[in-house]
Point group: C3
Chain length 139, copies 3
């Protein structure tokens, strides 16, 4: 059994930018000497999230709209009284969706549904350089 | 340390069908030659989710109602413009709740609260045959 | 590769009490003979949750307010018809946010963002004594 730590670096647009990170994770997995196990995918930050969806343009638009309905960007949040950077909504969305996802793999293939991708959502209100940690455990 | 991949197959009613999958997971665990570790439970699909709750009929009704309030089935979603299958709400609910859950075990017993069960929620708008991946890591 | 089970005990105020548990987890990690791996953090109970946030007082107030907006305490839930303990809202919030979080570590340091802490949220409507399971897997 081995533990391998890898990182993905991303440039995002912010504003609920939804990015399919499945290809980068699969590529890292292929490069390792591990066949079966799990990968834990963690956002290093508190204004973004990781989850899964069917990655198609209609649904991505729906994701943007549903978060704007639930936790609007324009509303005043107490967090903004602390830092005045206008991203209170991004923090709340991140805590709600979550910043960690664990996906199993077998014979070097991620176990996902046919129409299911791993997505990174950047809720922050500006462009960001992001680092995502991948912890592989397996044999 | 060993890695073992198992699958659970489920017939669901769709329409936010909430199913207690704790017994199937415990049964798989008992059949394995692993005592201590974790099991990662993953929905293979993008219109269902996995989480925990106290599995009792009142709360299950509350779960159905809260999702209908948050992300109603009847509303028009952009996802339906792509596939016309009327399940945009199911995709959004799945991404929000999440499709992966990790639960520890010790001496072949899942570590859960007394009133806490592992639930699979099928948000799709029709009956489905579902596959849930269980990745056991332990010793 | 080793598996080590630890527990954290907490006294909470209930009513969406948000507690930074990062120090306790880091302390447990330092005391173990494991350098690299993952820790799975699980709430033993169905009226609390675990996630991450930037732990500062403004945002903590925002978290309390957003859950009161989404799933108000005062509303009548079917769960209360079963147990009459007035905490239906707490169960729903717990299932939505989630009761499990997995965080990687390397060289005995948790991999988190600079402004990111691991939080336990007690949604129950009264003070509670809580037990949180930490399952460490690593080498």
């Amino acid at each position: 059994m081995a533990v391998v730590t890898e990182f993905i670096n991303l440039s995002t647009q912010g504003d609920t930018d939804v990015i399919d990170i499945t290809p980068q994770i699969s590529e890292k997995l292929r490069s390792l000497n591990i066949k079966n196990g799990i990968v834990t995918i963690n956002v290093c930050g508190s204004t973004a999230a990781v989850t899964t969806c069917e990655y198609e343009s209609g649904l991505i638009q729906d994701i943007k709209e549903i978060f704007e309905k639930f936790i609007p960007q324009g509303k005043r949040y107490h967090h903004d009284d602390t830092w005045h950077d206008g991203n209170g909504h991004a923090h709340l969305r991140s805590s709600l969706v979550g910043t960690s996802l664990t996906v199993p793999f077998k014979n070097k293939e991620l176990i996902l549904g046919t129409w299911q991708q791993i997505i990174f959502i950047d809720f922050d209100n500006r462009r960001r350089q992001r680092k995502i940690a991948l912890q592989f455990l397996g044999e």
